[in-house]
């Protein structure tokens, strides 16, 4: 093959089209699409089509479509040693972004996966009541929480969306609206003095 310089298409010899990005695709009856892609991570695609939200926009709902990014502001204490069922336990962490904070429920291996200061992206999460009426954000069975960075994110600890009393919207019973603020900040994780 003659060298034509570094801008020769990677898949040469099949057709003469240049390489395009997926965003530039348009329907056509010609077979000249040269592009590069790899499949998305399994388990993430298809679970939620919701757009990314800020924590202050969370409202309890029974749907796992919460996509958001937050910083783990406070982590739970390390799991007790010598307990066989420690892996299966859940625990709470305080997470926050620049608009609000919330309690995040860590389950199983998630307990060791994140530490304070980690920036976490939640995809397909759910914000709902868990056991004794506590309102928590969690990945759930079908959601995914990934560490995408650390430290470089501003956050606030007030309001805490898990410390809000919610009631059904009289106008639209499918929606929940805020009735009262139980506490301006987390009652589980007291603010640093």
């Amino acid at each position: 093959m003659a060298h034509k310089g570094p801008d020769v298409p990677v898949v040469s010899g099949i057709n003469s089209g240049s390489t395009v990005k997926l965003k530039d695709l348009a329907p056509a009856a010609t077979n000249n699409v040269n592009t590069t892609f790899i499949p998305d991570a399994p388990g993430v695609s298809g679970i939620s089509s919701g757009s990314t939200v800020k924590l202050k926009d969370l409202a309890p709902a029974a749907t796992n479509n919460v996509n958001t990014t937050f910083i783990a502001a406070r982590a739970p204490p390390p799991p007790p040693h010598g307990r066989a069922d420690a892996r299966e336990e859940t625990c709470l962490a305080l997470v926050a972004d620049e608009t609000a904070a919330a309690h995040f429920l860590l389950w199983g291996a998630e307990r060791d996966a994140f530490e304070p200061g980690d920036i976490v992206r939640l995809t397909g999460g759910i914000f709902s009541y868990h056991r004794s009426n506590s309102l928590v954000l969690r990945a759930g069975r079908r959601g995914r929480a990934e560490k995408v960075g650390e430290f470089t994110m501003l956050f606030v600890e007030t309001p805490n969306m898990s410390e809000v009393k919610w009631v059904r919207d009289p106008g639209d019973p499918r929606r929940m609206v805020q009735e009262a603020v139980v506490s301006p900040h987390s009652q589980v994780f007291k603010p640093l003095q």
Partner: protein, 443 residues
């Protein structure tokens, strides 16, 4: 037919890190290129994907490194002038702390190969590795500099001076801690034979001493922080002799040179720099505590971490000068970050060295040439915290008293003493007692 094995990984990460197939993973572009060019060969030279695909194979292929990869590297570098740069940039784009042991050792091998060929782009790669010291397998870095010291002295003096500064700081008390051997890659000969600098301290000392002796002018580029480093190491026989024989007469002259920008970068790791700059640019007064806790847990509460505080102080004083806009935006000030760092020193020698680091530019301040922003944190810290003033004064005085005994040149000693009197023992009553923007609880 069984499915082909998955491609090897470059970065550590379990279920809760982005998968390499996800666009947000730093591994993603490497893996994409690897899937297109799984086995780079000279026929792939024109491909735009070659730098990333070659970098992937270089880092991930099992031991021993296939010779054809070196052939492709130099063939591409010879044909396309920008190739070496693209290859080095690809290696630099990977988050070093997350690299698995095998790719990390291969990265050092790649740096060594680029340095051997004096390929464009090798200097930033070596600087980046120096800033990450200490890490497992770091002795190869010393080998690279040892092998090419004379060449670097002529062609890349700043790089050689950076290495001397980084190694001297590493020799400071308790900085070098035996790094754990990597178990993840224990069956690979390359990784098993990788040595750590903690195990070759003598080689490190002899390298620094020989460069200081043979390439004194290069080392003087470091400026007054060279004297600061050597003061901390004066009890090491080799440096003591060097100090008496050749450095003593030049110390006053060297101390007139401030810390250059490339040297401030060497004082902290890239992760520390990002986090400190985020704190001082974005985090408002009153919100800093959590960030300080995270920073301390990550960088200070680890073996050799507390000993880095004096260098962090130097970075804040000389490496970051906020604009007026930032200073008026209500973010945490440099002096307050340094005040917090001083309170984080549990070891008395670290605290003494940190205070010396804070006042170093003040002591050698030249009103004609010196940058007042280098000494601003020290001035403000004294100003805002009068209660501490005497304690700080005493500590700095004691630290310098030792230096004076160690044999600073007379004229320099008197200069230090005069400046010390000016700076530290000015009438406390003339210092206005101000409150911090958030009241008295400053950090």
């Amino acid at each position: 037919m069984p499915p082909p094995p998955p491609p090897p990984r470059l970065l550590a990460g379990g279920d809760h890190h982005p998968s390499p197939t996800s666009a947000s993973s730093p591994e993603h572009p490497f893996l994409s290129a690897h899937l297109l060019l799984p086995s780079p060969s000279p026929s792939d030279l024109p491909s735009l994907h070659l730098p990333l695909a070659l970098a992937f194979s270089f880092l991930a292929d099992p031991s021993p490194l296939p010779r054809r990869l070196l052939v492709v590297l130099h063939a591409a570098g010879g044909r396309y002038p920008a190739f070496y740069h693209a290859f080095a940039s690809a290696l630099l784009s990977l988050p070093f702390p997350l690299l698995l042991p095998h790719p990390r050792n291969r990265l050092l091998l790649a740096a060594s190969e680029l340095a051997r060929a004096a390929a464009p782009g090798f200097a930033p790669l070596l600087v980046s590795l120096l800033r990450r010291l200490p890490f497992p397998g770091d002795a190869r870095l010393l080998d690279i500099f040892h092998e090419h010291a004379s060449f670097l002295a002529d062609e890349e003096p700043q790089l050689l001076a950076s290495a001397v500064f980084a190694f001297l700081r590493l020799l400071a008390k308790n900085r070098l801690d035996p790094a754990p051997q990597c178990l993840e890659c224990s069956d690979c000969g390359e990784c098993k034979n990788a040595k750590n600098l903690a195990g070759c301290r003598e080689n490190l000392v002899s390298f620094c001493a020989s460069v200081l002796r043979d390439h004194t002018q290069v080392c003087e580029l470091i400026g007054r922080d060279l004297v600061r480093c050597l003061h901390e190491l004066v009890l090491v026989q080799e440096f003591h002799e060097l100090w008496k024989d050749s450095m003593l007469g030049r110390a006053a002259e060297i101390c007139r040179i401030g810390m250059p920008g490339w040297c401030t970068a060497m004082a902290v790791s890239p992760e520390m720099e990002t986090q400190l700059l985020f704190m001082m640019n974005n985090v408002k007064w009153g919100n800093q505590k959590r960030y300080q806790l995270w920073f301390a847990r990550k960088h200070l509460m680890v073996p050799g971490g507390e000993e880095r505080i004096p260098d962090i102080v130097r970075f804040i004083c000389c490496g970051y000068h906020p604009t007026n806009k930032v200073m008026q935006s209500g973010v945490i000030a440099r002096w307050a970050v340094i005040g917090w760092l001083l309170t984080s020193c549990n070891k008395s020698y670290v605290q003494a060295n940190a205070k010396v680091a804070l006042f170093y530019d003040w002591l050698f301040f030249d009103e004609g040439k010196g940058n007042v922003m280098n000494i601003e944190p020290a001035m403000l810290l004294m100003n805002y915290d009068v209660r501490r003033k005497e304690a700080i004064a005493e500590c700095v005085r004691n630290a310098f008293a030792e230096d004076l005994e160690r044999g600073l040149e007379d004229c320099m000693a008197s200069r230090v003493e005069d400046r010390f009197m000016d700076v530290i023992y000015q009438d406390i009553s003339t210092v206005e007692t101000r409150k911090t923007p958030m009241g008295n609880s400053s950090w």
